[in-house]
Point group: none
Chain length 230, copies 4
DNA sequence: GATGAATGAGGTTTCATTCAT
DNA sequence: AATGAATGAAACCTCATTCAT
């Protein structure tokens, strides 16, 4: 393209209709997560995507729409990544739980999209509509999925009976916090948290907590009455 | 105009000047928590404190200083509220833990100042200095305090041995999340979480988790269920 | 600047709450009339009013509101100026008509506010709401007033019968055109129109037209020439 | 991509290239008249002409040139339409006048190009050069033409002597106003004006005005001295 | 101390214009 | 010839900050 170079000057712009939206969303995601909604200048988004300011407006009507698109995009990514999880239902519930947590971290928490949590936390007051969307599409499905695994464990006598919906929230909290931490205090904190160790601690703690009291686990299977389906 | 003024007109502001800064900080806290740093207009802060915009500048050099002051103020409140906790060291570690969590919620999480967590999460990237301060003055002391109680429990054989620093983080996460939730998705969510029940679930889960494996199983079976009704 | 100079710097701004809106409206009127709505930059309005850009926004929510206010303000000025005319009903209808036209020119057509006609003409498509307002508050009342005078003349036998509403429009047209011309082609045109002469021609033409066909022809021949010298 | 293209697809644009500029000018005229110069987006012009934005620039160097071309084009249309009128000089001056007015309305005032008047009125300040052009090519020729007819009438004793140049302006005003009205307040106004009736009123009024006072018209022919040549 | 009118830098948004395809 | 993605100057508007009263 520039090899023969009679033209000199590199082309002022390059036509890349297909790729653009994704590039813009990626740049926007980075900055929104980093600086927050208001703190993100569209100039910077454009610059990071190596595009002029005006180009943004070819793809997104305004800053708010860009924001919504970023969230939506991240969400579908999340869902796509995690969708297949639901089916996995063989093996011990303990193994399932461990796997679920690992996957969560790998596919979401540790992803750039994980920063979305922080963003949504901060901006849900200003964008209730999107908060609602995120709640419906991400949080509640995830709670439901985790809830199923726990209920399964209870039914099979692997776990002691618990108030599943609450328990799920309690169990989810450290995961989300890990994500939040990474994008907030993480960079300020002197001693970094090792995610693997943190996650291990968290899973171990909850498996310990969920383990049925008595020594003879086989006996208990029948006693766990269906706890709080949703 | 000024001739008659001496007489009639009851003084428009009857507030003690002492109270001013506190009122301003309270107003600012509310708005910062609600709208975020950038989303908060000093106009609104002034209006909420029923003060003119210029007055703000008599007490705070600029928006950033106001923000810092808000955080600092909230922090000292927190610390003051929780400081005496540390001394309390009689009774079972379980009781101590329960009490600590209850107090945390009552004195901080459920306080307006609890919104600070959300704020710091969102803005720590933009104000690393304050994030650092919050980390040093609030988070780490609290982690340390909780760590002491856990270590005490381990030492006294009440708890199984754990990696205290990690465990503390895992245990703290649901608390913080409760606070965050209240100021973020809470208002959007259809079914509200009952904090007491949530906290009970969390404490029970961790006490179950921390309980030494084979410590007289018959005794403990009952405790895992329902404590902390409201 | 540094001569007397302890004080130096003239005050950056001066408090003039009362006067401001009027000054701003005047500046805006000038520019809107001159450049049209879109062609007028708020910066320029501010500059002409010797005020900073932001100050405009203390008084008017946005450009459109400023525009509306300019029109509204001009309209009330017009109405105020011309209101008393309606009462005037003594003397010959011819004299009344002459007077009405003179006053129209003096109080409106020749006023800065007269440029409003051009503005409304140009922008009525973009601001139908205001166009409607102008129509209702200015144009139709004026048509009605003129119509009354003509009807009076017809009733008293001074004028021949005509289709008053149409006739009024025809008669009004040259007046409005004079105003329009002044703010449009006027400055481009080599030979300027003398307004007094133009108005005289117009009034004479219409009085000649309105004169009943065979009313004592000998008497009236002189009146058709040159009245209204200036 | 280009392999299959050879076959199917009927050519998307089947227009003769000759027609292009005219179509663009027509679209531009519509929009300029409707929204004004600044209010017209080139995007919209292109869209209305069912052409891409870039294509506009193949035919017109920029927006201003497009505008000029629109005016020029309209003007030549006008002139072409009305040119033959000048020659027509048989019959009574009254008939000539009536015909001239009718033709004016049919060929110009009632044409889309009639909106040009409004446009020029509004934009002459911003485009003095074009205003000058319009003045020279349209307005003054038309004034001259009308003036000739009136002078002819005066010379032949059909009309009373008047200050022709002024009289022409006065007589022209209602015509132009009709055109302006149609593109400005017309759409807002509740009761529409019937153009034919309006024009009839106007012509009748002026013929009545121009009719020589005395019963014996033949006598007067000499007395009207050539009034105000240009 | 308190006020609030005034300021202007800086952000968002628009749109005429360019140019590789 | 035609396209339409890309550009960036310039407009509108906001809001933290200042300072005469």
């Amino acid at each position: 393209m520039s090899a023969t170079a009679r033209t000199a000057m590199p082309p002022r712009w390059e036509r890349r209709k297909e790729a653009r939206p994704a590039e813009l969303l990626a740049a926007a995601l980075d900055l929104f997560v980093d600086k927050g909604y208001a703190g993100t200048r569209l100039d910077d988004v454009a610059a990071r995507a190596q595009v002029s300011k005006g180009t943004l407006y070819l793809y997104f009507a305004n800053k708010e729409e860009l924001f919504k698109a970023v969230v939506r995009e991240s969400v579908v990514t999340l869902i796509r990544n995690s969708a297949e999880q639901a089916a996995v239902a063989t093996g011990s519930s303990e193994a399932l739980l461990r796997q679920l947590v690992d996957t969560w971290w790998a596919e979401f928490g540790n992803t750039q999209a994980g920063g979305i949590s922080k963003l949504m936390m901060a901006e849900s007051g200003n964008f209730p509509e999107i908060a609602r969307f995120f709640l419906d599409e991400v949080i509640e499905p995830w709670h439901a999925l985790l809830g199923q695994v726990i209920d399964r464990g209870i039914e099979r006598g692997e776990f002691r009976p618990v108030q599943t919906p609450m328990y799920v929230r309690v169990m989810t909290a450290p995961l989300v916090m890990l994500s939040l931490w990474k994008h907030s205090f993480g960079p300020c904190s002197a001693q970094a948290i090792d995610p693997q160790q943190y996650l291990a601690t968290m899973v171990d703690a909850h498996l310990a907590s969920l383990r049925p009291p008595q020594a003879s686990p086989s006996r208990q299977s029948a006693s766990g009455r269906k706890s709080h389906k949703r």
